[in-house]
């Protein structure tokens, strides 16, 4: 079903999703993005610099969160603007369970140019890890 601009209102909620990250996902993301910062794969180094352990790339968390929008519209090109502030690291333990992000989204503005503003909430262990996570989304 295509989501149209006429069919949504301020307050419309997007289907929430959870995304699980394991260590292997951080390795894959490092390779795919070119971000090989040591804190994303080396436990020894990460703890030495005062982190709770290996942490997910902020950009990986940002990429997961917006899937709530692209899965809602079906069209990745519908996201015309997307920004976040990284407020809290997401430690990814060396376990099968990994770390799980809970993402929800809500339409917070309807704009004249056939876009809507979606505000995303991304939580890890009950705490928000992305602030000001806002996407402007073009709808048919």
């Amino acid at each position: 079903m295509t989501i149209t601009w006429d069919s949504v209102d301020v307050g419309t909620e997007l289907p929430p999703q959870s995304f699980t990250l394991q260590r292997v996902d951080l390795i894959k993301y490092a390779g795919a993005s070119g971000d090989f910062n040591i804190i994303h794969w080396n436990e020894r180094f990460a703890t030495e610099v005062g982190l709770p352990g290996v942490i997910a790339h902020g950009m990986l968390t940002m990429a997961e969160a917006v899937r709530v929008v692209t899965d809602w519209t079906g069209d990745p090109g519908s996201v015309v603007e997307y920004g976040v502030r990284f407020t809290r690291p997401v430690p990814v333990p060396d376990t099968d369970a990994g770390a799980t992000l809970e993402v929800s989204g809500k339409v917070t503005a309807k704009n004249d140019d056939k876009t809507v503003t979606v505000t995303l909430t991304t939580a890890f262990e009950g705490q928000t890890v992305l602030a000001k996570a806002v996407a402007r989304v073009r709808l048919p």
Binding site: F19, D25, K28, Y29, G31, A32, S33, G34, D35, V49, G58, M59, L60, M62, A63, E64, V66, R67, V69, T70, D71, G74, D75, P76, G77, V79, V80, E81, Y82, G83, V84, R85, F86, K132, A135
Partner: protein, 149 residues
């Protein structure tokens, strides 16, 4: 150590063009675990009106990161890269990146400031095709954590 304020307004020229391949987009989609067919299948992307497979909304970081690393590692800037964390990121897309795009990035230092003992630098990466078509603007805030922060 405070960052060199002379860097505000400085622009870094586009390096070698980046040719966006289908395989790079597929690998990025695979890394974020996203099974959207528009990231993999040409006919699915074409059904949405694109010439070729589409990149996820944050794929542009691949280009922006390469460009901003050039700034962050400039020795004259005085940034201790081992203490840098990503503070904020924003993308404004003129259109989605698609496979086959040949892209260049021009990076500009927009601001440098200090707050609570941390050095902060914002950069803007203007991503366009080699033919001059604007594709995406990437805004990044990098924070270098002060020794006491």
């Amino acid at each position: 150590m405070p960052l060199n304020p002379d860097f505000v307004g400085r622009t870094y020229p586009a390096g070698e063009p980046y040719l966006v391949s289908r395989e790079r987009i597929r690998a990025f989609a695979e890394a974020i675990g996203d099974t959207n067919p528009a990231y993999r299948d040409v006919s699915a992307a074409q059904a949405l009106g694109y010439a070729d497979i589409v990149a996820p909304p944050t794929f542009a970081i691949v280009l922006a990161l390469r460009a901003s690393t050039q700034v962050a590692h400039d020795p004259e800037l005085g940034l201790d890269y081992t203490r840098v964390v990503h503070g904020e990121q924003r993308f404004a897309h003129e259109r989605p990146i698609v496979a086959g795009d040949e892209l260049v990035v021009i990076t500009t230092v927009e601001s440098i400031r200090e707050a609570a003992g941390n050095d902060m630098i914002t950069t803007r990466g203007d991503i366009s095709t080699t033919a001059g078509e604007a594709v995406c603007t990437a805004h990044s805030l990098l924070v270098s954590r002060g020794a006491d922060a």
